[in-house]
Symmetry: C2
Subunit: 514 residues, 2 copies
């Protein structure tokens, strides 16, 4: 730790003309770095210092990439805050290189396993949960009532079942269900119902008169194999009121609990993992500590044959040209371009653009704009070839690195990654968030040790020790990889699961409500 008390910055790329101050609490004016650089003014922790004199209009370079231009002359040792950095145009999608720099395949990584619940469609659950799906919000409060009783009266008798959850949502009625955007929430709900952690035991509660009829949510013939005929409770079929409605749901639930309770964890190769990556409450260290460490983990997972998903369109939009070059085929690159173009248009139609990201907290954390945020964000994706692209809410079956197109909104992204069949979730944060999901375990990684110390009962892994040179990116990457296997096996509990911090799912509905 001693060396950390010295003024210290991290420069990511040799061409960078800015670097990030990593001393906790920031540094005062006059602070002198080992290289001889002297701060002309106070710089907060995780904010940027100019390594060279810059004229107005000069490129500001971080991650070896132009993240903006100087709005006025900047002196060496100045604080390069967001007010000094102009936002460049997004890379034009028409000019993106297609599969021009496909990374070589990394050596295979064998012998890593976890204990999971294998499903008959081949997917593997990391949990054994009874999920109750719903067609429409009208039934949500009733299902919540039934779930309270199921958990209190039934679940204790089925010790191999981890939890009972209701998949409730505001969709299903009062929406333009034939509008162009409607496919997204509908397939999201369908794929959530088929999530690997729910064991293929579909229990669906419908009101009866809603727009999203059960056969529209779950069309027969288009579904992966379920363990038995799906079980459906339609409230408006009840002839004897609330009591009958609750009895029907509970009777179906008990039948499902019995079947789920017979399941046992078996040894599964790491290739059965579907790991979703996300960041939230990012700071300028995100791209230096936590995200590169997760990127290393992502490479390990890909080497082990697993699926790794990254997402958040607005946070990769400014790196689109880098990712299309990395795509394994021109077709995959075009798929990425298509998703980016769709989201550009979606934002434009709503009177917004990618500059709506970042947040005030990102800026306080030293991120000047969405370009800098994007460059840090894609570090999570590691270094392997992009093997596939999925639209919002689509199920992912491709192995290797996959881009699952989602908004960057934490909860929408998490919901869509669950729909894509994510069975483990890694979430990096600099500012701190108590994020958690009921349907799959979430490992939270802090970008800085200050947060990991302050929130020692919420943060699972401290990647801040990379900034203090207490650990390397590779070491933290391996730590996260091993933790994934332990948590996936049910051997170790995340903090979010310990406290029961499970945020509601949030659907992405690009269509109008009525």
């Amino acid at each position: 730790m001693n060396s950390f008390l010295q003024p210290r910055y991290i420069r990511v790329h040799k061409n960078d003309n800015v670097a990030v101050v990593v001393n906790q609490g920031g540094l005062p004016a006059g602070s002198r770095f080992a290289c001889g650089l002297v701060l002309t003014e106070m710089i907060p922790e995780t904010h940027k210092v100019a390594l060279a004199d810059l004229a107005e209009g000069d490129a500001i370079v971080r991650y070896g990439v132009v993240i903006g231009h100087a709005k006025r002359a900047i002196q060496r040792g100045n604080w390069v805050h967001e007010g000094l950095v102009s936002l460049p145009d997004a890379p034009p999608l028409a000019d993106c290189p297609l599969a021009t720099a496909v990374p070589k395949t990394l050596p295979k990584l064998d012998g890593f396993t976890f204990e999971g619940f294998r499903n008959i469609d081949g997917s593997v659950g990391t949990r054994n949960i009874l999920g109750i799906s719903t067609t429409v919000q009208c039934v949500a409060a009733t299902v919540a009532y039934a779930v309270r009783r199921i958990k209190a009266e039934m679940l204790p008798h089925y010790p191999n079942v981890d939890d009972v959850i209701a998949i409730t949502h505001p969709y299903g009625c009062g929406v333009a269900i034939d509008a162009p955007g409607a496919a997204v929430p509908i397939r999201t709900l369908r794929n959530l119902s088929l999530h690997p952690n729910l064991g293929g035991e579909l229990l669906l509660v419908s009101l009866g008169c809603e727009k999203l009829q059960p056969e529209r949510l779950m069309p027969s013939g288009t579904l992966p194999v379920l363990n038995e005929e799906s079980s459906l409770a339609v409230m408006q079929d009840a002839q004897q009121g609330f009591g009958e409605i609750v009895d029907t749901i509970m009777t179906l639930a008990e039948r499902k609990l019995k079947k789920l309770n017979e399941r046992r964890r078996i040894s599964c190769p790491a290739s059965d993992l579907v790991v979703g990556l996300q960041c939230g409450g990012s700071d300028a260290l995100s791209g230096v500590t936590a995200n590169p460490a997760v990127g290393f983990t992502a490479d390990l997972l890909v080497r082990a044959g697993a699926t790794v998903m990254f997402s958040e369109v607005t946070e990769v939009r400014d790196a689109a040209h880098l990712l299309t070059a990395r795509a394994a085929t021109p077709e995959i690159a075009q798929d990425l371009v298509r998703e980016m173009a769709w989201f550009d248009e979606y934002l434009h139609a709503g009177g917004a653009d990618r500059a709506a990201n970042p947040t005030p907290g990102n800026k306080k954390g030293g991120l000047a704009n969405v370009v800098e945020k994007a460059m840090g964000s894609i570090a999570k994706a590691g270094s392997t070839a992009l093997m596939g692209v999925a639209g919002p809410g689509q199920r992912v079956t491709q192995k290797g690195l996959v881009f699952a197109a989602t908004p960057a909104s934490d909860f929408i992204c998490g919901t869509l990654q669950l729909a894509a069949s994510m069975n483990m979730h890694i979430f990096t944060t600099g500012r701190g968030t108590p994020y958690g999901l009921a349907m799959a375990p979430v490992i939270k990684v802090s970008t800085n040790s200050g947060l990991a110390t302050r929130w020692s009962d919420l943060i699972d892994v401290d990647a801040g020790k990379i900034a203090t040179s207490e650990a390397t990116i590779e070491e933290v990457g391996w730590e996260i990889f091993r933790l994934i296997l332990e948590v996936a096996s049910g051997c170790k509990e995340t903090w979010a699961d310990h406290w029961g911090l499970h945020n509601d799912l949030v659907l992405f509905n690009p269509g109008p409500v009525t």
Copy 2:
């Protein structure tokens, strides 16, 4: 009941050439009505029968209004199902008459009171609830954890406090917060926090780095008077993790509970009621039984000086010309036109139109299209002059009949009516829904006795007895009016409150997510 076993239909207006069959279970072909009409085919309950021969293209008239045109020739005694009725164009907004048929003021109704909690801003609560507001979904699971503990450990010590609720939502971050549509969800959240049933005791939980910063949600100077300085817990300020975060929320909560516990119900005039009207799961009887009865109640409430809100833009759009004529002033009529035009454009931008309403269940219930649904829907608004129009999420202070513009989606409508300061809610349903809200009591009125019988432990008032001639519209209207006063006073429990059926709030966010 005996007379009801005879074939029976209800014709609403003397010019109508269709009527609604009201016999439970419908009527077989050959059924003969007292007037001599004979059915040529089976007609389901609440569906329409032709009272005259119609040529292809002839107007089909119900409520004295053209609800569509015959797609082919229809014989007297035929079933006039949705497949036979074309959808006419919506009334052009530019041609709407402005305040041309302002109803005369009805006689004042004095002497009706209820027992409520008067707030220092003049509003009156029908409940005494501790509400915990949130800036962003990131904090929702933590607040839920705290609320569970507050309810278990603290609430029993404060017997005059009815409940503790978290106002959680998916807004606040990952959204285009400067987009044109953002004003709607932000003011909705603000006004929910100021709801009369929360006693002006604002407790707000923020993460810290979110886009919707506390001062943006609650700008000082623009708020109605609160009882004391607002209380704010910012999670990212916590130096000692989850324990400290929960302690902070609970300490603030206990301070609020103490103050709320000192409050007592006092006698308040009925003019302090703000009653929101809504229908969901409608059928063809909605416009014949429940909605006209509620319309009579609305007139009673207006006569007593209260505020009565009706809503659901897509369900009144086809009656726009009738409502603008009823507006008290041309300015109010123009306000209504403005809200209708905004929603037309909103639907159009999303590739939809008003035909996205009605639902499959509405159609099964006999509603041919949105025109027929709209004519039934506005019956709830009674017969008085339109005294004001509020945009989505705006607080309503105007007395008399007010149109609060909202989508027809049950839960978005309810949420926006709560934001408008609704302290009592009346919900009519034909198909049946277990709708309920935590923030204000909901009285559910069935359009048909079959539903009221089947769901005797969910439906509070049976307006179906109007169809069977067991009660008049006026009698049921008075029954609902008296029940409102009892429920508002806390003397009588609704079925939704009895079972704790409280649906989540749903924000209307016309802006994009990021």
